[in-house]
Amino acid sequence: MTRKINLRIWRGDATDGALKNVEVEANEGEVVLDVIHRVQATQMGDLAVRWNCKAGKCGSCSMEINGKPRLACMTQVASFPEGEEITITPLRAFPVIKDLVTDVSFNYRKAMEIPAYEHPKDLAPGAARMEQVDVERSQEFRKCIECFLCQDVCHVIRDHEENKKSFAGPRFFIRIAELDMHPLDLLKNRKQKAQEEHGLGMCNITKCCTEVCPEHIRITDNAIIPMKERVVDVKYDPIRWLGTKIRKREGIV
């Protein structure tokens, strides 16, 4: 079953741009990335689009489709009603480079700010023992394919360019949570840093990051809120604070 669909694709660069109408064929079972490729091969040879695996595993083809941040390779054309126009734009939280390609270097800069995993020095290769139940929480966050849709949708930076300085964003909150929950990681002050340096307190848990995650990572419930609670443990809980003075308890500090 082939049908004609109408696309509105944003074309332009940092200086200017506009939505351009284009009509293209779509076959049964095709995703938006397929029709973009068809447009590229037949009508707009220089249409810029980032993509890679085309299987929802690499997180390259992030864009906004009908205003929602999505992976183009995971968006079925059939999910839109017949006859409806599909609007495709680049991510709107990052500087645009050309057409559907944006400059996502913000995320790589933020990655650099998160202190790395610290392995116990006295553990010989192969000597580490970790229980499956202890690694499962962090494993969920390591499913992240770095599509940066959560970063794109997060209003803290999407709607406030100036917050980019002080806010790491959901992708890096799950990274911090992953390390804080890692059974062997030695670094002690991840919670304080999360609050004081990475802007965890800026998050008002409106859950858009969870809504857009193509890996269905429960970013807010399993990473951000637990991290906020851990921050309360070390910063806003006088009873626990007193507890640490009296006896050292696990999970604190």
Partner: protein
């Protein structure tokens, strides 16, 4: 034209997949400065697609396992065409490489004792694949990406500049490897974002560009798999070895068309998925080759029992090495017993509950449900062979990963040849990346010590720049998209999974014709993120790879591993004694046969002589290995 960006590094690593990143880490830890160059964003390399796991004989699940068993499995899988030394190094070192990842923060699935869990996989005698669900490749790439960030953080702390020793040049295409006086001097390329040109001056270049899948019509590879490293190495004077061997993964998605080629991991079969044809027959029992009869079940009852008791039953034939399964599916489809879309059925829903499927094969479920609207807990998948991996690649010194014939050039990972012989076992690629990525890094470190500087001449720069500019100045020439499609059609039909001499000859002619036309490729639009422009360079690389594959395939008159000749069915021990070496004379690819290095006695003795008789000539057996 904008001004040329110039950089000086000790090592330039081309490719930021598993091998490239591992090489970069090694070189940086030895104190060298490293440029990592990749065509995509950092962390998007094709390595993320590897699902099953990384093979390493840690013996965590079955303590009978050790490097010798792994070595034997690898050689068997490669039909003894492997470079024995690479297979040996790989088997010996992969456990350390896995443990190292753990020390950098990787979180593999665990056994009850808290060790790294290992799973069964086709061709491996024991459960051997360290894994994380079915996203092991992602874990590997992310761990090394984060290791590189950790090293950059150290640099930032120590000398105030995070990029003092490692800098990632993402979305940059290398168009040429530069030499001066016969040695590597650097690399030349352009930013995909704006087309600005970049010169790297470096005494050592490590190629880690991965595969060539995009040469073929149906492939699991992404757009990046265009054989860049293979072609760059050829043009720089290095050799390619055994380019006729391509692994067609037996189970790629064949329906719906938009996801054609995408891989269905072997774990689906490892977890109990069965293959049936359109008549409902479980056909794999018909295709167990003589050499495997002792370890694969010949009836359904025993095959089913194996999932419960692996010590007392032979394995189901669905777990035969990939080439055997791919050929079997191909034969079924050719005999008219395929599905209407040209595949066969792979069904896991009958054996496992929906809950177990979602737990053990989460990405597969996700992939089928979201990309294709198929619920694998309820219905069978339609699968067929897809071009997945190239065994052939740059000919290297096993211990240093140095490309033979080009001082300063190194290659590791899929782009290097020899390790896997004629067929790669599943799970051996991730460990290959780690073992030889590290060795390439070490090789470069040793080389740079005695060759610390490199300078590129003005002439080399002007020539390289002229080649990049060329497609813009041609008017009304060929379209790179359509030439690519034509090439894929030729390779798919004429040098695909089943080959005949006549068809391969035809392919060689057609590839030459496309190559001639490709000299007239013209590009519309500007340099800024222009996919048509990018494809023009990729196309050139793919044409060289295709030529090398076709010409090697024509010479090898036997069927072995990832090379099946309809006119020469069956293995021939005489052909096991030669590698096909491709070289490039600036105009065309030439192939020569080169004797395989002979296996040393201590490795020879790891095998049962009767097993070796299936692969080797009586004279070789009588000799009993070298030294």
């Amino acid at each position: 034209m904008t001004s040329l960006e110039k950089y000086k590094y000790d090592v330039v690593v081309i490719g930021a997949g598993g091998a490239g990143l591992r090489a970069a880490v090694e070189a940086r830890e030895a104190g060298l400065s490293v440029a990592i160059v990749c065509k995509s964003l950092f962390g998007k390399a094709h390595t993320v697609m590897a699902e099953g796991g990384a093979a390493a004989s840690m013996g965590n699940v079955n303590d009978n396992d050790n490097w010798k068993v792994h070595f034997r499995d690898t050689m068997r899988g490669g039909k003894f065409l492997n470079h024995y030394r690479m297979a040996e190094l790989h088997a010996k070192e992969s456990p350390d490489r896995i443990w190292e990842l753990e020390m950098w923060g990787a979180l593999f699935d665990r056994t009850k004792e808290g060790k790294i869990s290992q799973r069964n996989f086709g061709g491996h005698e024991y459960p051997r694949l360290a894994h994380v669900g079915d996203r092991t490749g992602l874990e590997l790439i992310r761990t090394m990406q984060q290791r590189i960030v950790a090293l950059q953080q150290i640099d930032a702390r120590e000398n105030g500049n995070a990029e003092s020793h490692i800098k990632v040049f993402a979305e940059l295409t290398i168009t040429e490897i530069l030499k001066e006086n016969g040695k590597i001097a650097g690399a030349y390329g352009y930013w995909r974002e704006n087309g600005n040109e970049v010169l790297f001056e470096a005494p050592a270049v490590i190629i880690a560009t991965g595969g060539v899948g995009k040469t073929f019509k149906i492939t699991s590879n992404s757009w990046e798999g265009t054989g860049d490293g293979h072609a760059l190495a050829l043009k720089a004077g290095a050799n390619l070895v055994d380019m006729e061997f391509l692994q067609f993964h037996p189970t790629g998605m064949v329906w719906p068309p938009s996801v054609r080629g995408i891989l269905v991991t072997e774990s689906v079969r490892g977890e109990g998925g069965i293959l049936t044809n359109s008549l409902g027959e479980r056909f794999m029992f018909k295709y167990i080759p003589e050499v495997f009869k002792s370890i694969y079940a010949d009836n359904e009852e025993e095959a089913d029992r194996w999932y419960l008791d692996q010590d007392n039953n032979r394995r189901p034939p669905e777990l035969l090495p990939r080439d055997e399964v791919a050929r079997a599916i191909n034969s079924e489809v050719k005999a008219g017993r395929g599905t209407e879309h040209g595949g066969v059925f792979l069904d896991v829903s009958k054996r496992l509950s929906a809950e177990v499927i979602k737990k053990r094969l989460p990405s597969m479920w996700h992939q089928f449900f979201e990309l294709a609207g198929v619920d694998i807990t309820k219905e069978a998948m339609e699968v067929g062979p897809t071009c997945h991996y190239v065994m052939g690649g740059v000919e290297v010194e096993p211990d240093t990963a140095a490309a033979i014939g080009v001082p300063g050039l190194f290659a590791a990972g899929e782009v290097a040849g020899g390790m896997h012989g004629s067929n790669r076992l599943g799970g051996n690629s991730l460990s290959d990346l780690l073992v030889f990525g590290r060795r390439a890094g070490m090789g470069a470190v040793a080389y740079v010590k005695s060759n610390p500087t490199a300078t590129v001449s003005e002439k080399a720069i002007t020539d390289a720049a002229a080649r990049i500019e060329a497609p813009f100045s041609r008017a009304g020439g060929e379209n790179s998209y359509s030439l690519h499609a034509e090439l894929q059609e030729v390779t798919h039909n004429l040098v695909g999974i089943i080959r005949t001499g006549k068809e391969v000859e035809e392919a060689i002619e057609k590839i030459a014709a496309i190559r001639a036309r490709s000299a007239n490729v013209a590009v519309a639009g500007g340099r800024k993120f222009n996919p048509g422009f990018h494809l023009a360079f990729d196309l050139d690389n793919m044409l060289l790879v295709a030529e090398s594959t076709a010409k090697s395939a024509l010479l090898r008159e036997e069927s072995r591993g990832g090379h099946t000749r309809d006119d020469f069915p069956g293995m021939n021990s005489k052909w096991r004694q030669v590698n096909h070496i491709s070289s490039f004379d600036g105009n065309k690819v030439n192939i020569k046969a080169q004797p395989l290095p002979s296996i040393p006695k201590e490795l020879f003795d790891l095998f049962d002589v009767h097993e070796l008789e299936k692969y080797m000539t009586p004279e070789e057996i009588a000799k009993g290995g070298s030294n």
